[in-house]
């Protein structure tokens, strides 16, 4: 297996090459990579792949890439269902 085919975001099944191609083509931030590929938008909330996406974009990047908007953390810290959030008994 080529390392390009390494799955970076397992939730959305986005490979290393998809992330690199997107970053290369659009010269964009990791947040834009996320929005274009869905990497980091799965059920784990990007907790597994966030730092890898950031690093890959950084490697491709060069000076034209802005890191003003990194992949952000948003509450809740852990993914939970709306039911639990709404007070449903566990």
């Amino acid at each position: 297996m080529s390392c390009d085919q390494t799955v970076i975001c397992r939730c959305e099944e986005v490979t290393m090459s998809e992330i690199q191609e997107t970053a290369n083509r659009y010269k964009c931030s990791s947040r834009e990579v996320k929005l274009r590929t869905r990497a980091g938008m799965g059920p784990c909330g990007g907790r597994t792949c966030r730092s890898m996406i950031d690093r890959l974009v950084e490697q491709v990047g060069g000076p034209s890439v802005s890191h003003e908007v990194p992949l952000s953390y948003r509450p809740p810290v852990r993914p939970i269902s709306f039911g639990v959030l709404g007070g449903e008994a566990k």
């Binding site: 397992r10 099944e13 059920p43 907790r47 597994t48």
Partner: protein, 111 residues
């Protein structure tokens, strides 16, 4: 299938016999012991695929095994997105594997 449990460990000793429970995974009964997680009980029974990816249909199972990655999510007693690796087994628990939502599996888009 033969159990994959380590029953006699050179350092940890013999496996203590725990209370046996039965769980159902995709309508098949499996043996488990009290204190098992869903993932450990199924792995001991030789089940390594807990679901398939919703879109790509590729198999998924235990990945981080500490509740971090949500790779082992299954449906338990009708509740979805339950992590098999951090959920303890209970008697007669009904577990369903994650299925694909891919359009290719929906017979040409017909629901």
């Amino acid at each position: 299938m033969k159990s994959m449990r380590v029953e006699h460990h050179p350092i940890l000793g013999d496996m203590e016999k725990q209370q046996r429970v039965t769980i159902y995974f995709d309508n098949q009964p499996y043996e488990a012991y009290k204190g098992d997680t869903i993932a450990s009980a199924l792995l001991a029974s030789g089940v390594r695929t807990l679901r398939v990816h919703e879109d790509k249909e590729t198999p998924r199972g235990i990945y981080c095994n500490i509740g971090h990655c949500f790779e082992c999510r299954v449906t338990v007693n009708g509740v979805n997105t339950v992590r098999a690796c951090v959920t303890s087994v209970e008697e007669n628990m009904v577990i369903e594997s994650g299925k694909s939502f891919a359009t290719s599996s929906q017979k040409g888009g017909q629901l």
